[in-house]
Assembly symmetry: C2
Homo-oligomer: 169 residues x 2
C-alpha cells in the first residue's frame, strides 16, 4: 500500500461521511426535527460532539497529506456549527487532498514528521501514517457514524465502506 | 507502508483493546456491576454488541493476515460470552498474526483476494487492505471503544492509540 492510496482512502471516506449527512437530513425530516441538532450530539458528556468528530477526521486527513507530501497544511478553523457548514469543511479538505499527488508523496516513508503536539520529537513518515493518521482518521470517522447511528439515522456498514474496486473472475 | 506494518498495527490495536477491558473491569468493580454485562451492550438495537465488535475486529485482522500472507485462516467460532473469553479470543488472534511475517507478505499487493462474500469477484491484495481490512478493522475497534465509553468506562484517546515510536530530535 503506497502513501497515495492512503490519502485517496481518506478522501473516499470523507465523501462517504457527506453521504451519511444526506441520511441524517432524511431522518430529521421524517421525524420533524432540525438536522443541526445532530451536530452537537455526543455519546458521552466528555466526548467530542458530531461536528468536532467531522472536523477532526478532516484534520487527520489534511495533516497526513501535508506532512507526508511535504506541503504546508492550510488553516481550516473549527467554526462549523451546522451540517451545511460541515459539508463545506469536507469540500475544503477534499480540495486540499487533491493538490497532494503521487509525486509529492514519493519518499514519504522517510520524511521526518514533527507535529507540534510531539513536543520536539518526530516520527518517520511511515510511522506517522501507521501509528497516528490511519487509526485517528478512522477513529473520528467511526465516532461520527456511531453518533448518527445511536440517534436513529438509518446507516449500515456499506455506507461506511462505500464502493469497492472488485474485479470479475 | 508495507503490509507487515499493517498487520503489526492490527496486533498493537488488539493489545490496546485488551487494555480497555482492564479499565472496563475497574469501572464495573467501582460501580459494583458484573463486567460481563458490558459484553452485550450496544449503541443501537440493530447494531452488534461489544462482544461481536471485538470478534469482528479480530476477524478483520485474521483474514487480512491470512489473505495477504497466503495462509489458511484458522477457524475462531464466535462463541465468546464473557470478557475473559474475549481476552482469549484476542490472544488466539494475536497468536495467528505472529505466524504471518514479512516474508509471507512479500508480493501481497498483487495477490488475488476472493473472500466468499464477494460472490466470485476478487480484489487485488493492495485494494483489500485499503478498502476492506483497514476501514473495517478500525470500525469495529472504535465501536468497541465507543460502547465502553458510552457506558462510563474511563477511556481516553491515548488508550486507543497506544504507544508511538517517536524519536528524539
Amino acid at each position: 500500500m503506497n502513501h497515495d492510496a492512503a490519502i485517496r482512502l481518506f478522501a473516499k471516506t470523507l465523501q462517504n461521511v457527506e453521504q451519511w449527512m444526506d441520511k441524517a437530513a432524511a431522518h430529521a425530516k421524517a421525524k420533524s426535527f432540525d438536522v443541526d441538532v445532530l451536530a452537537q450530539m455526543r455519546l458521552a458528556p466528555d466526548q467530542f460532539p458530531f461536528a468536532r468528530q467531522v472536523q477532526s477526521a478532516c484534520d487527520q486527513a489534511k495533516y497526513a497529506a501535508a506532512y507526508l507530501g511535504g506541503k504546508e497544511p492550510p488553516s481550516h478553523p473549527d467554526t462549523e456549527q451546522t451540517v451545511a457548514e460541515l459539508r463545506q469543511r469536507i469540500h475544503k479538505c477534499l480540495g486540499f487532498l487533491e493538490t497532494v499527488g503521487p509525486k509529492d508523496l514519493t519518499g514519504a516513508e522517510d520524511r521526518k514528521v514533527s507535529p507540534p503536539w510531539l513536543g520536539g520529537k518526530w516520527l518517520r513518515g511511515d510511522d506517522y501514517l501507521v501509528h497516528v493518521a490511519l487509526p485517528n482518521f478512522f477513529f473520528h470517522a467511526t465516532m461520527a457514524y456511531a453518533i448518527l447511528r445511536h440517534n436513529g439515522v438509518d446507516l449500515g456498514k456499506m455506507d461506511y465502506i462505500g464502493s469497492l474496486p472488485a474485479r470479475d473472475a
